[in-house]
């Protein structure tokens, strides 16, 4: 004999105004299976909770019906309260008499009648609810971090210092990301390498971090707490154990200085055997398999010069791609950003003159380890410029390109103005064409003031075009501060390009069923309250892959993601919601339709038993398989056809 308790909530006047809660409670107390019915103003409050718990104990209830607002509001709370009171939390049924009754109707008499139907059917459901037990899954206390820029580095160090093993996967031959390409950072003008390299070294030497560079993710399967990751290690053609980083191979390489260097943003050259940059971690050489003569044509002169030059005999052309497998409990994605190709805003001349460059290219010119050893020289004639002009917002805040603000453009331009003034002296003319100047962070406004004091010509406006002339570049700009049109004749133009998601972000997101926001960056679960969570449990994002930001916000997010991941990894077991699909093994014919239909890849076919199976951790309870199953073998726990039909019968 079942003992159900019905609890009717007034919800202030939200329900009580349109539904006669007293009459409803009285009615409910006489329903089949109900031993007690109570009412209260705010059932979700502490007082309400105590009322429910006390009533459960007093009347020895084994099931609870709450007539209240939508289950989307407080179902979780009421389950917990019931559990505290001694009732299985899955024997709680919520009857929505607010959104689906009192808020939808104005005739109190009719609304109350309807509420009675709703509660009656809820009671009949409650009578058939199974006392489900959540299953648990063991959590693997290891993390996967994808991306070895400053975000990934920070996350890895935090997790490793927490005591978890971290697998850091980076697709370039070295970690460091875009931050390694910078000379100085704003607003303190710290040397970027000086603050980054110690962290990179820490990552390399940390006993809890497995550093996998020149590697990519091949596949990810599994669920929160238990992921199986396949990682593709690309061959360096250099034996990492033997390589001492001496550089003899690069010096000897037949293609030395003939290949465009990506690290130097195309401003400099490298060979096929190369070190990405002098502070690379790991400090090992790599051979570019798309350019190396031996690897692409099978022949490099009489013999490969790198092999000849290497005293350690570390060159290994027989290396192959390797797929390794790792199991982890949580994943943090920190894949960074790409810079927009400013040729897309053709009128600014990026494709028309070598003297039109981007801020990242300028950063490489400024850097003392860059292609010009820190000399600022015009690419067209290798002469010092007498005038340089920055144009901000190239492709940013642009409805025809990237609609968003890149967040770092203004400060980057100001930083470079400062450094150029330092390098090139007082006589050179420095112009800045800006739309709005955003110096929002701590110390940023002070920096902006400093730059204004350096005889910088600030023009408020966007030029329409950069016109390459014979000797220099001509820019007409209407300055809205003076309402005058100025003609600037300048030697070097630096464009601040938009910040974009990685070109393969969409493709990558499919590996993990990640959602992208409208601008193509990875979508956070909530912009204010859950900035590093995603909609997939167990997967977190950090840094610019989530949206444009500077280094300090990136580092903050890196640590935040580590903390969020640690919440999972620090538990031995995780509970899995039992309100999911299940298979009636007697009826299932093994047709496999549910496997095709499941958007979460939670269904598999057991070949031996010839039936379908549900992965409890992946199933989201969407119901797709239940609709698709032709044999009615697929059902939803506590939402079976029989249970639902009973509810309908009761209403009728």
């Amino acid at each position: 004999m079942r003992r159900i308790g019905v609890f009717v909530c007034h919800c202030g006047i939200n329900i009580a105004q349109n539904v006669d809660v007293k009459a409803l409670t009285e009615y409910s107390s006489h329903l089949n299976g109900v031993v007690v019915a109570k009412e209260y103003k705010y059932m979700c409050s502490d007082v309400g909770a105590t009322l429910i718990k006390d009533t459960i104990k007093e009347f020895k209830l084994d099931g609870v019906v709450i007539a209240s607002c939508s289950p989307r509001m407080h179902e979780h709370t009421f389950r917990r309260v019931a559990n505290d009171g001694g009732v299985n939390p899955y024997r709680v049924e919520i009857s929505n008499i607010r959104e689906q009754c009192s808020w939808a109707h104005s005739n109190k008499e009719q609304a109350t009648e309807k509420a009675k139907y709703l509660v009656r059917s809820a009671v009949s459901k409650a009578l058939s609810l199974e006392p489900l037990q959540p299953s648990t899954l063991k959590v693997i206390p290891e993390a996967l971090v994808i991306g070895g820029g400053i975000a990934g580095i920070q996350t890895s160090l935090d997790l490793a210092n927490d005591g978890f093993k971290v697998h850091l996967v980076e697709r370039d031959p070295s970690i460091g990301g875009h931050m390694a390409q910078l000379d100085k950072t704003f607003p303190t003008l710290d040397c970027s390498s000086c603050i980054l390299t110690p962290k990179m070294m820490e990552v390399a030497h940390h006993e809890n971090i497995e550093l996998l560079t020149y590697a990519e993710i091949a596949s990810i399967e599994g669920s929160i707490g238990n992921y199986t990751v396949k990682i593709k290690k690309k061959p360096r053609y250099v034996d990492m154990d033997k390589c001492t980083g001496c550089g003899d191979c690069a010096t000897a390489c037949r293609l030395k200085d003939r290949i465009v260097s990506e690290f130097n943003q195309g401003m400099g050259k490298r060979g096929a055997a190369y070190m990405p940059f002098p502070q690379a971690v790991p400090l090992k050489y790599v051979i570019d398999d798309k350019k190396c003569l031996f690897l692409t044509k099978g022949k490099c002169g009489d013999e490969p010069l790198c092999k000849k030059a290497c005293a350690q005999q570390a060159i290994a052309f027989d290396q192959k791609e390797e797929i390794i497998e790792r199991k982890v409990g949580a994943i943090v994605i920190a894949t960074g950003y790409d810079v927009m190709d400013p040729a897309l805003v053709y009128e600014y001349g990026y494709d028309q003159s070598p003297d039109v460059i981007t801020t990242l290219e300028m950063e490489r010119l400024i850097s003392s380890s860059g292609p010009t050893k820190g000399e600022i020289l015009r690419p067209s004639n290798q002469q010092k410029p007498k005038s340089v002009t920055f144009i901000l917002c190239v492709g940013s805040r642009d409805e025809t390109q990237c609609t968003w603000c890149c967040r770092i453009g203004c400060m980057t331009a100001l930083k470079q103005v400062y450094l150029l003034r330092e390098k090139l002296g007082e006589e050179i003319e420095i112009n800045v064409c800006y739309n709005d100047l955003r110096s929002f962070g701590k110390g940023y406004e002070e920096f902006y003031r400093k730059v204004r004091g350096l005889h910088t010509n600030m023009f408020r406006g966007h030029p329409s075009e950069v016109r390459p002339m014979k000797e220099n570049l001509k820019i007409d700009i209407f300055d809205t501060t003076t309402n005058k049109l100025f003609e600037i004749k300048t030697d070097l133009v630096i464009l601040v390009p938009a910040m974009m998601p990685r070109s393969d972000a969409t493709e990558f997101s499919r590996l993990l069923h990640l959602t992208l926001s409208g601008d193509g960056f990875f979508l956070e679960a909530h912009p204010k309250l859950r900035p590093v969570d995603t909609f997939v449990n167990g997967i977190f994002i950090a840094g610019c892959c989530q949206g444009p930001k500077d280094i300090q916000d990136t580092v903050s997010q890196g640590s935040a993601a580590a903390s969020r991941a640690a919440t999972i990894l620090s538990q031995e077991e995780l509970e899995i919601d039992p309100l999911i699909a299940m298979v009636d093994e007697e009826v299932c014919t093994g047709c496999g339709i549910c496997v095709e239909v499941c958007p979460y890849e939670a269904r598999t076919l057991n070949e031996r038993k010839r039936i379908a199976e549900v992965n409890d951790a992946l199933c989201a309870g969407c119901g797709g398989c239940i609709a698709a199953c032709p044999s009615n073998a697929s059902t939803h726990k506590n939402f079976t056809k029989k249970q639902l039909m009973n509810m309908v019968d009761d209403i009728m």
Binding site: Y346, E347, D351, R467, P468, M469, K474
Partner: protein, 292 residues
């Protein structure tokens, strides 16, 4: 395979810029294009846009409707007409209320606009539909590296969201046609500057200043001649070159031809058939008629 088009002449070409029409009628049939002369066309309305845009829409719509009556696509040699007709079609397709309103007025002439028409200009007809290969095949007298600058004008390049005959920032189709006929296209910083024609109606001196400034810049480089593809641009650069020179106080002696005239020369067509004596700029400097 012959491509059939109704020739939409507009106002300026048939009443004044005869050389364009002559050179079109000489060259295009050779390249497999059949031009149909249709009665009843009127002004496209673009010059009236400043006065009453509804009139412009109506005039363009009636011309589209006439072409529809004859079930013909439109070849529009004038850049302003091309924009007017293209934009009208775009507006009517996007705005059913406007379409209904215009059709209501068109009924007075027993006309209706109900289907989209394919509209081409000289540049995309030559480059995209006829093709460089076919043009090359008809070259009898390659131009021996003549250094020619191109003037696309404004209305066939912008606004790009409507779909224009060539790219708005880096148009290259005329350059490729020039290469196909043996000329050497010359790049110059003022390439995308306007000819000034739209101001001819109310501020002629400013219009001529624009023209003069561009011609002056071209004259100062090692450029032998200029080609254009619109009767308004040509009217400024060629017919009014002397006046433009006076306005900017520079003696201007830049040979200016329609692209189709230069094409005709390369095809071996006699100069008088291409209306070369109607060019007011010193085209004889190019010595195109040498060696028949």
């Amino acid at each position: 395979m012959k491509k059939k088009y109704a020739l939409f002449p507009g106002c300026l070409m048939p009443t004044e810029q005869y050389a364009y029409e002559l050179s079109i009628r000489e060259t295009l049939p050779l390249l497999g294009v059949e031009l149909v002369d249709v009665e009843g066309f009127s002004c496209c309305g673009e010059p009236m846009k400043s006065v009453n845009q509804l009139l412009t829409l109506y005039l363009s719509a009636r011309n589209l409707a006439i072409a529809q009556k004859h079930q013909l696509d439109l070849f529009v040699p004038c850049a302003m007409c091309h924009l007017a007709l293209t934009e009208c079609q775009h507006v009517l397709e996007k705005n059913p209320t406007m379409k209904e309103r215009i059709n209501g007025m068109l009924a007075a002439e027993d006309l209706q606009y109900t289907e989209k028409r394919h509209i081409v200009h000289t540049v995309d007809l030559l480059h995209d539909e006829i093709g460089i290969q076919k043009i090359k095949e008809h070259v009898k007298k390659p131009l021996q590296g003549l250094k020619i600058a191109t003037h696309y004008g404004c209305h066939i390049l912008r606004p790009s969201e409507l779909g224009r005959p060539d790219d708005s920032e880096n148009p290259q189709k005329i350059e490729e046609i020039l290469k196909a006929i043996g000329a050497e296209p010359m790049n110059y910083p003022q390439k995308l500057d306007c000819c000034g024609a739209p101001l001819l109606a109310n501020l002629p001196e400013s219009a001529l200043t624009k023209t003069g400034q561009k011609l002056q810049a071209i004259q100062e480089m090692q450029i032998q001649g200029l080609v254009d593809v619109c009767p308004w641009c040509h009217k400024m650069f060629d017919s009014r070159q002397t006046k433009a020179g006076e306005t900017v106080a520079v003696k201007l002696e830049v040979p200016v031809l329609y692209l189709t005239q230069l094409l005709g020369i390369a095809f071996g067509i006699p100069a008088e058939k291409l209306g070369l004596e109607l060019n007011m700029s010193p085209v004889e400097k190019l010595q195109l008629e040498a060696a028949k």
